[in-house]
Symmetry: C2
Subunit: 393 residues, 2 copies
């Protein structure tokens, strides 16, 4: 009862037109394996770890054969999930729809396959469908996510942050929804930067419809991705599963504005699970639209993000520098300021020598002085004292 022909010629013809422009490694991939992954992408719901484990164990084509050769073993339950969808006409229709909208089929092994997806292990997608290929896969990427029900504050922050990050060469990843997602994509585009969108349904079904033009612009300069085949409807499950891809595709995830139970917290949860640096933009505690961000700060120990520089810092060292302030040091501080000048910037070593302080102590006191606004650090790490008038507390 094999409903699909997995012969090499049939497979090659079937995937023709959805593999144009795939990179050098992908060209060498077995067309039968590629085709089998296309079939799998129709059978499984996102994140089906039984399918993932099976494919990882024996390959996509062999896994398909295991499924269709009814062997009555431990796979029975999984087979019962997949078999109702295993219809040659549906596979052909999905591939035809992909060709019509110019979508590519990307599978593991292709140059353009996001290597970050490896972190998803058994929950990695079996294949991806993509419109547009403009976003460099080796550039740093940040997921900026948030609620559809956004405020003017949230959308403004989203657009500015996305534009600043895009201008710095960071790929902005988001979900193309109304509200924060849309503002992030638009901000990145406005800076001439690269942005990619992950959809819950097929890439031939712009969703939401009101973002059809935006998705067109995204695919022109960046890319629109989906794990579900062309023609697939966006369902609630697929939205939630899509969020894991947004988290996995990024080197860091930042929640811009989100209510207490926003779906963006689901993306934040995936980021935490994947070990991606996670941050949130704070807002007024009187704004329900920021309550989810404050949860990320509290419950996920997220980084407080106030600027693109904060996000770039997340991409770098990972954690921000922690202040370690000395409490009641008095004479040492005097010696520190004796060693500082408001005019000529001095290195920490120079300050340590002039003040007679240990280098580490000087560094701590300089940090404290910076907090108090009594010293500033140049871009190259040299320090100057700040001349101030007066004023108390």
């Amino acid at each position: 009862m094999m409903p699909l022909d997995l012969g090499e010629d049939v497979a090659s013809r079937a995937i023709d037109g959805v593999r144009r422009g795939i990179g050098s490694v992908g060209e060498l991939l077995d067309p039968v394996e590629v085709y089998a992954r296309a079939v799998w992408s129709l059978l499984v719901e996102p994140g089906d770890s039984e399918a993932g484990a099976l494919i990882a164990a024996v390959g996509a084509a062999a896994a398909l054969r295991v499924v269709v050769d009814d062997r009555g073993d431990a796979l029975d339950r999984a087979r019962a999930r997949w078999m109702p969808r295993l219809q040659p006409s549906a596979v052909a229709a999905a591939l035809d729809a992909a060709r019509r909208c110019g979508a590519q089929l990307i599978v593991p092994g292709d140059d353009d396959w996001p290597v970050r997806f490896d972190d998803l292990e058994a929950h990695a997608p079996v294949a991806m469908w993509r419109r547009g290929g403009g976003a460099p896969s080796d550039a740093p990427a940040v997921a900026l996510v948030g609620a559809r029900a956004a405020t003017a504050y949230g959308e403004g922050v989203a657009a500015d942050l996305a534009a600043d990050l895009a201008a710095a060469g960071v790929v902005v990843v988001s979900g193309a929804a109304y509200g924060i997602d849309g503002a992030c994509h638009r901000g990145a585009l406005s800076a001439g930067g690269a942005t990619v969108a992950f959809l819950a349904g097929g890439v031939d079904r712009p969703y939401p419809r009101g973002h059809e033009g935006l998705l067109e612009r995204i695919s022109t300069t960046g890319a629109v991705w989906s794990e579900t085949p062309c023609g697939a409807a966006p369902t609630k499950w697929r939205f939630l599963s899509r969020n894991r891809l947004i988290a996995a595709m990024a080197d860091a995830v930042v929640v811009i504005e989100a209510g207490w139970r926003s779906g963006s917290l689901n993306t934040a949860g995936h980021a935490a699970t994947l070990g991606r640096p996670l941050g949130a933009v704070p807002g007024p505690i009187t704004s329900a639209a920021s309550a989810g961000c404050h949860r990320v700060l509290r419950e996920f120990d997220g980084v407080c993000v106030t600027s693109a520089a904060d996000v770039l810092e997340m991409l770098g060292a990972g954690a921000p520098a922690r202040s370690d302030t000395g409490g009641g040091a008095t004479d040492d501080t005097t010696r520190l300021f004796d060693a500082l000048s408001p005019r000529s910037a001095r290195s920490i070593d120079d300050v340590a020598r002039r003040s007679g302080l240990a280098r580490d102590d000087a560094a701590v006191l300089l940090g404290f002085a910076e907090l108090e606004g009594r010293a500033v650090r140049d871009d190259d790490g040299a320090w100057r004292s700040v001349v101030r008038g007066s004023g108390a507390s």
Copy 2:
């Protein structure tokens, strides 16, 4: 050249009137020691650790004798700081001023001496001056601090948070400045709770002058404290030193609203040094008045505070609960409802195909959904979902 008589009778008379109502332990303290501490409080600037170490080593009276007996040893530099202030008339004037304004002299060993000050070690004050004694010393205390240059948002948050904490029996500690400090004291008073203020100058010198009435109300129901003697002017150094007492007096410190270089960050630094739980209220990242709070969240790893409950949690377990979200967990129920419609009834086989669930699993889940009132079965066995409130992603 002993400029002061440290005889027992002289000392007892000198401190008469500024020790009324001091608790049982304090009544047993040597009047000479108490008097010597009053003298010390005139000699030293807040946080003078050489004085602190000397007093801790030999006692306040003996330490005074060491200072006045010019022995040309390692204390020379410190003596040079203290001696110019060692004038019997100044000591008498400070004690007189305290009597006139009803201030008490509190020293270590008194029942009312804040035991939390022990954490300051050599930087602990030698003595404290207090107006009013209404705040229970064994109640939990939280320092709520912030900038003078506050916004309506910050002052509103401060007043609400202080009122909620005071209503919960927490003593609200602050610095009586304009802006956030004042809003915190007023909020606590409005809830009929206890609040205490720490001044940088003498407790007989209400500062700022515009808060004279507020300080009067604070001292009536709570207490106004200062480390500096009556008559002392509030100087910049004393403001900064006063901040360490605010941090030390509290079981947790929360910055409500503060600019990038606000003095409240100095209090936050003391809290970090003392190991006090430290939090900050976030605000719009577009508001310069919240930039200091966001620094506390980032650089001090502060707790994101959005309500009195968050602060109470800081007083309890210390760290907030961390969410532990499952990453790729499949939610079959979500997929089931994606496959159901409230309008068109669908067979179990159809639901299984649409949801990607095995038929048997779909049947079981539909049964549960029916029990929960989330799905209904037609007479012919087809299923529909029941419309409730929600939306997607």
